[in-house]
Amino acid sequence: MNLAISPDLVPIIREGLFLGLIIVTVLGALLATCSQRMIRAVLGLVVCFIGIAGIYYFLNSPFVALMQLLIYVGAVAVTICFAIMLADPDDDKLTAKTPGLAGPFAVLLGGTVTWALAYAAMTATWMTPAVKVNAGTARDLGESLLTTYSMVFELVSIVLLIAILGSLVVARSGRDKTEC
């Protein structure tokens, strides 16, 4: 018995998947910005990240999608949660009330930006996609990072090193030198 999906259904499923992923992303973003409790905002951020990872996977970049999960959900979100836990007790952690004018102003600003982007996207003459450089697999990415873009790669690692050293210095300042 071979019940493969019939070819007519494939475009519908594809569109449905894409729409679903976008809805997940937008819902996550809304949850992240609208919720009053910080920890729920982080959960919204996680949902948003997962939606974006899904979109990456949908667009044929499994490597980027998995990295998105590993780094943003597994590391960044967890670190943010941890920072929230180390701070004050939960009741003080409601996000601050915004002044009355902020709401309409935000809607106006956001609407303008959305309208501008949509206008640009609808009217612009799109370039034909550039020639595909490589298949975008992990091997290709690695090779180009270590050859063509090795300078950028090294610079990024220096930035990260400085960040680590900086955080160590900040964490160290309160400590007694005889300890550990």
Binding site: M1, N2, L3, A4, I5, V10, I13, R14, L17, R37, I39, R40, L43, V46, F58, N60, P62, F63, L66, M67, L69, L70, V73, G74, A75, A77, V78, T79, C81, F82, M85, L86, D90, T137, A138
Partner: protein, 331 residues
């Protein structure tokens, strides 16, 4: 995106994976209880069925028929979501685990990366569950679990990179195929001159136990200090899902160790290869984990974090460099 998926095959794998995860969770609890009992000179479960073999079913029925109590004062949505986050990534991971040459739900080229990506989501469940409970023990436990997971994820990933370098692939099937041809070709102790194999294996095994919050690293649920840790407030199936997630993670960790170091479904001495070898190796590893849990005392949080940051990370980094050098020298 390729949608040429066979619906029937997909359903079979879906049901099979969930059944495998749930069945293993149920019966590993039995193994754990029997093992613990015999180590402590007790009998363990023996009333329900022969040798207590039906005990897991009774436990499952009990958990499912209990009322789902949500205490006042908890953060309700987070409290309900957390057990799901504990279970879903575990099920997702099983999709890419090759049990044998042909039994694999989806052969993904980046299989190893996918496992680590979903495994890293798991810690969010402990964190959110602990935090949402609004119970000081649960919060302390969540903070501990997170600091532990963050600390041990680093050496684990570095060791995984070492294995990827040795086998030249992130596809789990290719990693296993690289070790074909008997015991002496396994990454555990290869005869091609890479004498760092056993060290890598031990480092990985320690990280695996710490990542799955198993004793002697189960500080997140140290019952003498924290009651039951992050799942103190959970009852019935909420607790059941956390528990199933934990055991599913143990199975995944053991399966991953078998794939990376112990030659997957290949027989150590050239007899018929197949899924049975995979399962034998996997259950032997799980039995080792159970033995370690009941024979070693729990470490303190301080020494746990020290072990990772001051010993495992430098060692695994050095191991990575040395392995790279060895590969270069041996060609």
């Amino acid at each position: 995106m390729d949608l040429g998926i066979n619906v029937v095959e997909m359903l079979i794998y879906l049901v099979g994976i969930i059944a495998f995860a749930a069945g293993n969770a149920a019966y590993l609890v039995w193994v754990e209880r029997k093992g613990a009992a015999h180590i402590q000179r007790r009998t363990g479960p023996k009333e329900v069925g022969p040798y207590g073999l039906l005990q897991p079913l009774a436990d499952g029925a009990k958990l499912m028929s209990k009322q789902l109590i949500i205490p006042d004062g908890v953060d309700k949505p987070l409290f309900m979501v957390a057990p799901l986050i504990a279970m879903v990534p575990a099920i997702m991971i099983f999709v890419t685990i090759p049990f044998s040459d042909s039994i694999i739900a989806r052969d993904i080229n980046l299989g190893l990366l996918m496992i680590f990506a979903f495994a890293s989501v798991n810690v969010l469940a402990l964190l959110l569950g602990g935090w949402a409970s609004r119970n000081k023990y649960a919060v302390i436990s969540a903070a501990r679990a997170v600091s532990q997971n963050v600390a041990y994820e680093i050496p684990m990933l570095i060791i995984a990179i070492t294995i990827v370098m040795v086998s030249g692939s992130m596809n789990l099937k290719e990693i296993v195929d690289f070790q074909a041809g008997g015991f002496w070709n396994w990454n555990f102790l290869p005869t091609n001159g890479n004498f760092l194999g056993p060290i890598t294996f031990v480092l990985f095994f320690i990280c695996f136990m710490a990542e799955t919050n198993r004793a002697p690293f189960d500080l997140g649920e140290a019952e003498s200090e924290l009651i039951a840790g992050f799942h103190t407030e959970y009852g019935s199936m909420g607790f059941g899902l956390f528990f199933m997630g934990e055991y599913a993670n143990i199975v995944i960790g053991a399966a991953l160790t078998v794939i990376l170091f112990l030659g997957g479904w290949y027989c150590p001495f050239g007899l018929t290869d197949g899924i049975w070898w995979f399962l034998i190796k996997m259950y032997l590893l799980i039995w080792t984990v159970v033995l370690i849990r009941w024979t070693y005392p729990r470490v303190t949080l301080w020494s746990l974090l020290n072990l990772s940051w001051k010993i495992l990370i430098p060692f695994s980094l050095f191991n990575l460099l040395a392995s790279a050098g060895l590969i270069k020298i041996l060609g």
